[in-house]
Every structure is written in C-alpha cells, then in structure tokens.
C-alpha cells in the first residue's frame, strides 16, 4: 500500500553522552533476551532459543566443512599428482594417473576377432603384488576380463588369493565383449611366468619382466632414455636386492630409497611410475614397514592414498 514516506527525523547512530550519575538499564532492544525468560516461565519454547540453536548448528557445519577441506588439501599437498576432489572423499579408486596412449595391436599382435588373453602362472607362496597393482591400472584403461584359476598341481590356496583380482565382472559370461583377458593361475612353478601368444612369443619369466610388459600396455613408459634407464635400475634393485637379498642388502636399499625420496616425491621425480609400483610392493612384501626410514614411510603412505594398492594390503601377512 503506497504510503507517503517520512524521512527519518534523526539518524540512528547519534552518539549520546550518557550521564554517569544515572543507573544503567539493560538494552531492551537486544535480541529477545527478556522474552526468553518470559517464555520459559510460560512453558513455551522460545523461537529465539531455537534460532540460536540453528545458528550454532550452522557454525558447526561450516566448521566441519572447513575441516574436511583442510584434510583434503593436506592430502593433496603431501601426495603430488593425486587428483582428489577435496569435497568428494569417497573410497573409489583414484582416476588413472597414466594418460598416455598405447597401441594394443602393435604390442599384442593383430586382433583376430577373439579375446586377447594374457595368462600368468604364479606360485601362491610368492604372490606377485606389483602385477595386481598393474591389473588395477589396466582395468581403468581397458575392458579387462579377469579370472583366477587354481591349477591341479596345488591342492588349495587361502581364499584371499582366489579373490585377489576383485569380484567377477557382470558381463564375464560374454568373453568377446572385452578387449583384454587377464588370467591368473596359481600353480606350482619355480618362477613366475607369463604366456600370451604361444606361437609368436616365448613365455616371459620373472615378476619384474612381466611388470615391464604390462606397464607398456598402459602407454606410460618414460620417453626419456635416462628416465627409462633409471626406472629399470630401480626395478632391478627392488627385485634382486630388496626381495631376494639379505638383511644388509635390504637395509642398504632402504637407505638409498630414503635418499632418493628426500629429493622428490616419487622415485623418478614428479611422476608416479612403474619403479614406484615395484619398489613399494617389494618393501611391503619384505615387511617391517614401521621401521623404514621417514621418507620411505611417507612415500608408502602416498602410494596407499592413490588407491591402486588397495588390492595388495589384504594379501600381506
């Protein structure tokens, strides 16, 4: 209803010098303080109290949000390369860290219209942890049909080994819908073995070599020959001195890992690579991670935060 407006006679913020000879009364225009007392005496819930509660809740909620943001940021700061969205902290595996491209046809031979199945024969006494990590990475890039079999040369294995590749894919009854097959067979073999195309390829032996082959399928091999050589060198160190060496050798490797990790977040510098996968798996398998040097422990935590190593932890004794 349009009424005429009267300009305010006096501004609300005039400073008044209050005489000190008078006694003071509490401000009756403050937010519902007296009213609440009345309300309590009457037995009703004071809306002002409710509003206060609501304000308190609001503040707490914003505090919590801030806290989670800070948590996320700390993780991001301590784990370079991770692509975590700070406000969505779910436990789903991280996005693929490898964004290279690989030509499956050139690596695996011409597609003959059937599933290309990679067969890995491993001894259940020495599960190939780095290959499980690589399997996880492959599943993010390609449609992989994974299966685990028990060979007749072994009478039984503990159930975590039979489910180490994760739950069966819903579409696993239709093999032709997948690009790659990853078949892990627990068998009584002396050395881990990979077979792919028996007519054109001889079997690849040794966990490190199979890891190199699978890494190539991700298209993430370092192009720089120096980095590639360093990667190979770290892998060999891990496999020969850390996994198979005596206590002294292992301690020496941990010291050199510590040194390298003091200079950069990952072994090859700023990028996560196969060297980190293999070395971390060897360190975890050797046990005694609690007594490892500080940089190594921090690096292991970063690996864990990436989410790719989740499949490995249930298999560590």
């Amino acid at each position: 209803m349009p009424m005429y407006q009267v300009k305010p006679v006096s501004p609300g913020d005039i400073k008044i010098d209050l005489p000190t000879c008078m006694y003071k009364l509490p401000n009756i225009h403050a937010q519902g303080m007296n009213c609440s007392e009345h309300a309590l005496q009457n037995g009703e819930v004071d809306p002002a109290l409710k509003a206060l509660e609501d304000r308190q809740d609001e503040v707490l909620r914003r505090l919590y949000e801030l806290k989670t943001m800070v948590d996320g940021l700390t993780k991001t700061v301590s784990t370079p390369d991770a692509d975590l969205d700070a406000t969505t902290l779910s436990h789903a595996p991280a996005e693929s860290v490898f964004r290279g491209t690989a030509d499956l046809d050139s690596l695996l031979g011409k597609d003959l219209g059937a599933l290309r199945d990679i067969v890995i024969n491993a001894n259940p006494a020495r599960p190939p942890l780095s290959l499980l990590v690589l399997h996880g990475l492959l599943c993010q890039r390609y449609q992989v049909l994974s299966s685990v079999h028990l060979h007749s040369s072994v009478s039984a294995v503990p159930s975590p080994l039979m489910s180490c590749l994760g739950p069966r894919h819903i579409d696993s009854y239709a093999r032709h819908r997948f690009q790659l097959g990853f078949t892990l067979i627990w068998k009584d073999v002396s050395k881990l073995q990979m077979k792919f195309s028996t007519q054109n390829m001889c079997p690849i032996e040794g966990e490190a070599n199979v890891a190199r082959f699978l890494f190539r399928l991700l298209g993430a091999e370092p192009q720089d020959p120096v980095a590639a050589t360093q990667m190979d060198s770290w892998i060999d160190t891990a496999v020969f001195q850390l996994a198979e060496g005596g206590n002294k050798e292992r301690a020496a490797v941990l010291r050199s890992l510590n040194g390298a990790l003091g200079r950069s977040p990952w072994l090859l510098g700023q990028e996560f690579s196969l060297a980190d996968v293999v070395c971390a798996c060897c360190v975890l398998q050797a046990g005694q991670t609690a007594s490892a040097p500080a940089n190594v422990q921090r690096w292991l935590k970063s690996c864990q935060n990436l989410g790719h190593f989740d499949c490995v932890y249930p298999l560590l004794q």
């Binding site: 059937a114 599933l115 028996t198």
Partner: protein, 531 residues
C-alpha cells in the same frame, strides 16, 4: 609130390613159425623183464617216498570245495602282509604267479589282485622233499591255500609288491587247479610295449587279450584300471547327489530313433520292431518337464556306427546330466565342469596307487586341470588355430586333427588337459540346440575336451514346441517320428541344458591310454561280440 612138398612146406613153416615165435617170445620176455624192473623200481621209490614223507598231510590237492564244512579260519590278504605281522603263523589264499625250484628249495610268488608276495618252501623239519617237488609242479594261476610264518627280510624283494616280508610255508593245499597251458602269460601281458621290443620278449596283442579277457583282467594293470573306473562312477554319483540331483533310469528299448536315425540297432519286438536307445536325451528332457529339475542317469548307450577307431565302441556306459536353469545356460556349464573337477580331484587324491600301477605299463603325463574350469569361446579357438596356420571358416566344425591341435595349443598356453569350448556354430549342431539370441549363426552349445579329445557334447535345449518344430523342419526331419518328443514341451517346460560323457572314454583319457577297449571290460565294436 604134393604131400611131401606140403609136408616139407609145413615143416619149413613150422620151423619158420617157431623162429618167429621164438623171437616173439624173446621180445615179450624182455618187455616183461623191463616192466618188472620198472615196477620194482617204482615200488622201491614209493617205499622210499612213503618212508621219507613225514609231511604227507601238510600238502596236497583239496577236494573241490562244495561247502563240505564251514571252517572258521581267517585268511589274511596278500596286501596286508607287512612287517607288523612278522613271526605270526597265518593262512593265505592266493594264486601262484610264478614258481621256481632250486634243488631243495622252491620259491613261489603268490598273487592276489594287485599285490604279490614271495613264499619259500625248503626241505627241512617242516617240509619234505616230496612236498617241495609237489609245490614246484603246481601249475601257474592255480588257487592255493597256504599256511605260513611271516618272516622279515633284510634285503627288499624288488620284484614283489610286499617287499619287506617273505612267507615260510608250512602247509600248502590246492583249492582250484589251473590247466597247464595258459593262452597268455601274465608277465607278458603286463610288459610295457617298448620293453618288449627292446629285449625281444613277448608282449600280448590286443585281440588275444580280448579273446581271453578273464585272464587278461587278472593283471595288476587291468585291476588298477577298472578300480579307477569304478571310482569315476562313484565320484560322479556322489558329487551330483550332493548337488541335489536325482538319479533316474531311462528305457533302452524305444519306439523311434530320436537323433537322426542312421546309427541305431533294431530289435524285434513281438510283432513289430523297436530300437536300442542311442542316448537317454529324450527321457532326460521329459524328466525336466516333469519337474525333477536336476537329473542324471548311468546306463548303456548303443551306437550302430561302423567306426573302427581307437575311441569308438558300439555299446558303452553313458553318464548323462540334465538340469533346469534360472536365466543363463552357463549355470549348467558351471555345474557340469564343477562335477568333472570334483571327479578329477577325487581320482588325484584317492587313486594314486592305481594311477602309478597303470603308468608302469603305459607311461603318460599326469592329468592337469584348472579350477574353475577354463572356458574358451569357439571364436577364440578358431583364432588360436588360425594363428597356428590352420585355415578354416568361421562356421566350420572342428575336425578331429584340429581338435587335437587345439588341445595341444590350449595345453601350451594354459597348461590344462580339460577345457570347455563354448558357442559352437548353429549349423553343425543337432536340431534341438537353442540358437544364440545375439547372433543367429551361433548357438548356445558347448563341447568339453580331455587331452584334446571330445568327451562331452551339450547345449541349451529348445524348450518351446513351436521353435522346436521350426528347427526340425529346417533340418528336414520327419515331424511324425518326433511327435511325442515335441509334445512334451507343450505343457510348460523350464529352460534347461545338459550333456553326457562316456565312462570308458573318460577313464582312457584321464590315464592317458590310447585305446578305449583297454578301459571297457568286455568291449563291443563292429568286429567283436564275445566274450
């Protein structure tokens, strides 16, 4: 003239006669003398024998066991003769496997089923010379009862199965004597082929074995094979019963040939004729339509195929499975392959002795398998064959040499002797096979292979009467002949699938043998009808 001549002739004759007679008499006298001598000798020998034979009542040929008396005597089995029984006096019933006499001793090898033990009869205070002679003259394969003391030996007796003990015989009686000439020698029947050729010793060829099956089945190898086969059957039954299957028996005299009709035996049936069942397929399916859900049956299968191969018989034992499933026929494949894996595991864990015995005569690689069973698609198999240089069309059936080659390729890559090939082309399967819903050129059918040879052919069956009629017409089958079959699907039929294996073929392939007649007790093929 004549009289004199006659007289003279007569005299001459008489003289001649008397000469002859004399000679005759002389000869007879000699003969008599010899006879008398001999008799006298025998008499003296007999006297000697009777004199010295203090062990007369400790050996001999028993009268035929007509259940004259019920002896409460415990007979120990040869396989239970171990050092724990040392110094015990026990009775054993066994066959004479071999006997060897050396002066005052006679070594017998006694055999019972798969076990052999050495027994010794020596002239001493318990056995006389006559007894040793008696034992040495016993024919091989005779069944004897022996009372003996079990003795430990310092040196292992390599040639026997019971290597740590020996029997010292006190009494020996023959229960059933064998004829002296055996149609085949058991050592020859157990000798490996190669060894026979090398050392120039005899081996027995298959026809002789099959003609004298009763003796051939006594060999340790045959005993092992058929015990293992019994194990296969038992494991099949036990595994399926545990999975909730029901055992059924289907009729073998049927009115119409269900599959094609070319390879059936005809029998005269009162005023008409009937056929011997080629497979229990029709009746298994009817049981599924009758709500039995999961059935299996063990029974004879008759195929009138004139194939004289190493793996075909005209009559064999079929182990058949049929199962209703919920949504996908892979549920049935998983069930069947799990049953096969349980059978293989059972044989691996409980029948090692038998497997080793068979390997001694027929060496082979141990059988390998994966759990869960490897399942490849037909396209993958074709791709593997093409990679190995075989040219074949996408919808072509696998020939036997290609099947064997694929088996070798799969063995090389996956190291398994047992696998499933899924999604065969529709064109090469029978009319009741369900076509693939996504690709009309393929079907929901599968084959299972052991050591590269097919042991099971199965599929999801068409359970819709109309589709079944269409498929039958497409294959040019006379609908009148299969009317009863199609009718069973008209009143609500669950989706189902199944397959069947041949007991003899599975045993043969598991042990790595090369001829199915070795695993069939009394085999039937186009050329053999007895024993």
């Amino acid at each position: 003239m004549t009289k004199e001549n006659v007289q003279g002739a007569g005299e001459e004759e008489q003289q001649a006669q008397s000469k002859k007679a004399l000679k005759k008499q002389q000869k007879e006298a000699e003969k008599a003398a010899k006879k008398a001598e001999k008799q006298a000798k025998l008499a003296t020998e007999q006297q000697e024998a009777d004199e010295d034979d203090f062990a007369k009542d400790r050996y001999g040929i028993c009268p035929m066991v007509q259940s004259q008396q019920k002896l409460d005597r415990a007979l120990v089995r040869v396989q239970d003769l171990t050092p724990e029984k040392a110094e015990q006096q026990i009775w054993v019933r066994a066959r004479i496997h071999t006997s060897r006499a050396k002066g005052k001793q006679c070594f017998l090898v006694l055999r019972h089923q798969q076990s052999t033990v050495q027994a010794l009869i020596a002239v001493g205070d318990r056995a006389s010379k006559q007894m040793v002679k008696f034992a040495a003259n016993l024919t091989k394969e005779s069944i004897i009862d022996v009372e003996a003391v079990v003795k430990k030996v310092e040196q292992k007796i390599e040639s026997c199965s019971q290597q740590d003990v020996e029997l010292h015989v006190e009494r020996i009686f023959v229960i059933s004597q064998s004829e002296a000439r055996l149609p085949l020698q058991l050592e020859d029947a157990v000798r490996p082929e190669g060894e026979g050729d090398e050392e120039g010793r005899a081996t027995v060829n298959q026809d002789t074995r099959l003609d004298n099956r009763v003796i051939d089945l006594r060999t340790t190898t045959s005993q092992a094979i058929f015990r293992l086969q019994s194990g296969v059957c038992q494991l099949f039954r036990d595994t399926l019963i545990n999975k909730g299957f029901v055992e059924i028996q289907t009729p073998k005299i049927i009115s119409a040939a269900s599959e094609g009709g070319a390879n059936v035996f005809t029998v005269s049936y009162f005023k008409t004729s009937a056929y011997l069942a080629q497979s229990p397929q029709l009746y298994k399916q009817m049981c599924i339509c009758a709500d039995f859900d999961k059935v299996f049956c063990v029974g004879p299968v008759f195929r009138a195929e004139d194939s004289n191969t190493h793996r075909h018989l005209t009559e064999f034992v079929g182990l058949d499975i049929e199962m209703a499933f919920n949504y996908h026929y892979h549920e049935v494949i998983d069930s069947i392959t799990d049953t096969m894996v349980q059978i293989f595991k059972g044989l691996r864990d409980r029948f090692q002795t038998e497997i080793q015995t068979v390997n001694k005569q027929y060496p082979s690689e141990p059988f390998k398998f994966l759990e869960p069973t490897l399942r490849l698609e037909y396209k993958e198999g074709v791709a593997m064959l093409r990679a190995a240089g075989v040219e074949m069309g996408d919808e072509e059936d696998l020939s036997t040499p290609n099947e064997k080659l694929l088996g070798r390729l799969v063995k090389e890559k996956y190291d398994t002797d047992f696998y499933v090939l899924d999604k065969y082309p529709l064109a090469v399967r029978p009319f009741y096979t369900m076509p693939d819903p996504n690709n009309p050129k393929y079907s929901n059918s599968y084959d299972m292979f052991m050591r590269g040879e097919e042991i099971l052919s199965g599929a999801q069956r068409v359970h819709d009467a109309q589709l079944l009629t269409e498929r039958a017409m497409h294959h040019g089958i006379d609908l009148e002949k299969i009317k009863a079959y199609i009718d069973s699907f008209r009143y609500g039929a669950p989706p189902h699938a199944g397959g069947g294996i041949g007991l003899e073929r599975v045993t043969m392939l598991y042990l790595g043998l090369h001829n199915v007649r070795q695993t069939s007790m009394f085999p039937r093929d186009p050329k053999r009808l007895t024993p």
